[in-house]
């Protein structure tokens, strides 16, 4: 039983922890950090503080468009009560888009990593190619594709699969648009984690009595979880704050929170404080959701 005990010393004794780093890094590191810190300070921290201040301001009664510094939490109450349905829709549509993007992306990434051989680079280019045109233009293109006279609606109507008669200007079109627009952000991290996996490890699953599906479920999929996690975050977070897809593909009523913020800032006179409060609430809600999600599904590689 003690067969292997004397091999390589006593395995029960863990290797000693690495000696603490005593070497001084000097100020080169800080110098290298400086441009990034300055950029973040001027273009992220300052606007954020400004936005926080705006979100608490009050307007002068009778003078629309004028505010004074205040600690008015009414804006947040209004953001949460008046616009709760918009928040719910944003998270629902973003969640559905993330789900559909995952369903489309995983097989695509799997094929690219294991099945297509020399076509791999061409497929990668196809996944990235849409980035060469503008996000807005591509979404406009989808409004043509999904239009009532367009190919998708025509085919579905012909097959009597479209009860409402149209796709454009429905939540379905919005979810389709979001799915399409954020698909590469789902494909690329999953592909990267699958491509990195040692094929011998997947073979080991088969060698240890797991058939193809069981090996996928117990070995391949868990090994690609860091990629899945990154992909879902990269899809869900921007999708939840998006307003372009709703604007171009969605219905007139039943907007998402991004559209409300956009309207409050640009279209409603004196809407700045509410828009700022909505922005902060959205940010906080996404942070909480991401935190819970990563805590639940996260792997050591990501947290």
């Amino acid at each position: 039983m003690s067969a292997l005990a004397h091999v390589a010393g006593d395995p029960a004794v863990a290797p000693p922890p690495p000696a603490p780093e005593t070497k001084k890094r000097g100020w080169t590191a800080y110098l290298l950090l400086l441009p990034g810190v300055l950029w973040l300070g001027v273009f992220f921290i300052l606007p954020l503080v400004q936005l926080a201040s705006v979100s608490l301001q009050s307007r002068y009664p009778g003078f629309p468009g004028y505010y004074y510094r205040d600690l008015n939490f009414e804006n947040y109450v209004s953001a949460l009560t008046d616009y709760a349905p918009h928040f719910a829709r944003s998270f629902l549509y973003a969640g559905l888009a993330t789900f559909f993007a995952f369903v489309v992306a995983y097989p695509l990434a799997y094929a690219m990593a294991f099945k297509v051989g020399r076509w791999r680079n061409l497929m990668l280019i196809c996944v990235i190619a849409p980035f060469f045109t503008s996000f807005i233009l591509r979404t406009f293109a989808w409004s043509q594709i999904l239009a009532d006279e367009g190919p998708v609606a025509a085919v579905l109507n012909f097959l009597h699969l479209l009860p409402g008669g149209n796709i454009i200007n429905t939540p379905l079109a919005v979810i389709a648009g979001l799915t399409y627009n954020f698909l590469p952000f789902m494909v690329l991290p999953i592909y990267a984690s699958l491509e990195r996996a040692d094929p011998r490890v997947i073979e080991a699953g088969g060698d240890l009595y797991a058939n193809g599906f069981t090996t996928f479920r117990t070995v391949t999929l868990p090994m690609s979880m860091p990629g899945v996690l990154a992909g879902t975050l990269l899809t869900f977070i921007p999708a939840a704050g998006d307003f372009v897809n709703m604007e171009l593909l969605g219905p007139q009523r039943g907007k998402m929170v991004g559209n409300v913020i956009n309207d409050q800032f640009l279209a409603v006179p004196g809407g700045y404080p509410v828009a700022a409060a909505l922005s902060f609430t959205l940010m906080a809600a996404i942070l909480v959701m991401v935190f819970l999600y990563v805590r639940r599904f996260g792997t050591e590689e990501l947290v």
Partner: protein
């Protein structure tokens, strides 16, 4: 479980061939590995040994031929249907599972209710119990190696395949693991098939060694037999060192063949030669050659050379001697004499050997 094939008995490969496009990795191999033996497939990289192993595992399917264990034909069956497990070269532990779950993976797939207990037992066998809760990335190479061994052994396969399992370990650890692997094999009594390019590793551990070259088995037998009487030039050079010379067979002297090597008459037992006329390459192992200052009288089999290098090794002294044919011979003398030879580079020496130790192999070997 569906598809799983119980099989007991010797592993047999019958006329197995594997081609990848134009390249023939394994060329019509016939092989029987007796149940419970420690078998080594030895050869340089690209000789087809790993491909042979993968065909036994089911990770590759032969282009032609059959793979059997006992009476069960496994040809065409999937890896998970075979009573065969592999210790992979890079260990291939599941990075997302703990050490315990790695080892329990096989028993769990086979719906073994005692999977957890079996994993504990296997980890104890390789002395890794205290690491059960860790992840593979937190272990050293030697520790991962033992976990990989436990993960395969826990299933009690009919045949255990080891694909260069010690290749990534340092020399000292490798020597110790060689002894341990042999001990475990004796203890569990399973058939082990060990693939390696390290001839010393193969000779230390295996009951039977098959030397592979270019997709074929050149020679198969117990390590001592292969070393003593290689049948091809490749085996003579790959397994240990060989001092060789090429000569023309001129006649017979009793049981011996007499060959002329650049004017020197060399005798080889006829039974120890694979060629009996024409050109022959004769060979003799370094420790079988005696070095002396004066020409020994009697039997012949002596050649005069010039010492090129002397290395004192403690238990022995190793000499490199330039031969008249232009080759360099290696001689290994145990330091038994009271009066040391005290040879220096440049000295003339006579090399001699007992004809019973020499062997003859065909000269031609297809160019690599």
């Amino acid at each position: 479980m569906a598809g799983f094939r119980e099989a007991r008995g010797d592993l047999q490969l019958e006329s197995v061939t594997k081609t990848f496009g134009d390249f023939t990795a394994v060329d019509d191999i016939d092989l029987t590995v007796p149940r419970g033996s420690f078998f080594a497939l030895l050869g340089p990289s690209g000789c087809g040994k790993t491909t042979t192993l993968r065909m036994v595992a089911g990770l590759e399917q032969p282009t032609a031929g059959r793979v059997r264990i006992g009476d069960t034909d496994l040809t065409g069956s999937r890896p998970y249907e075979r009573p065969v497990n592999t210790v992979f070269q890079s260990y291939a532990l599941f990075p997302h599972l703990t050490i315990h779950d790695n080892v329990a993976f096989g028993p769990k797939r086979r719906k073994d209710k005692d999977a957890a207990q079996r994993a504990d037992d296997a980890l104890e066998l390789v002395q890794m119990t205290s690491f059960a809760a860790r992840k593979p990335a937190q272990l050293s190479g030697g520790q991962q190696q033992r976990v990989a061994l436990a993960r395969a052994l826990v299933n009690h396969p009919e045949v255990l395949l080891l694909d260069e399992p010690l290749g990534a370990l340092d020399l000292k650890l490798r020597r110790e693991m060689q002894v341990e692997l042999k001990r475990i094999q004796t203890e569990v009594g399973l058939t082990f098939i060990h693939v390696t390019h390290d001839q010393e590793e193969a000779m230390t551990m295996a009951d039977t060694v098959a030397v592979m070259n270019r997709g074929r088995i050149e020679q198969l037998g117990p390590p001592a037999e292969l070393y003593d009487l290689p049948r091809t030039r490749f085996v003579a050079n790959f397994l240990g060192q060989a001092n060789t010379g090429v000569g023309t067979i001129e006649g017979r002297d009793g049981d011996h063949l007499v060959a002329d090597v650049l004017g020197t008459k060399v005798k080889v037992l006829e039974a120890r030669s694979q060629v009996h006329d024409g050109e022959m390459m004769f060979g003799v192992r370094p420790e079988k050659v005696t070095v002396s200052r004066k020409q020994p009288d009697g039997v012949g089999n002596d050649v005069k050379g010039v010492v090129r290098d002397v290395s004192f090794l403690g238990v022995a002294t190793s000499y490199l001697v330039d031969m008249p044919s232009g080759t360099t011979w290696s001689c290994y003398e145990q330091n038994l004499d009271v009066e040391p030879l005290d040879l220096r580079p440049g000295d003339d020496v006579w090399l001699t050997w007992n004809p019973g130790h020499a062997f003859g192999v065909p000269v031609e070997e297809i160019a690599v």
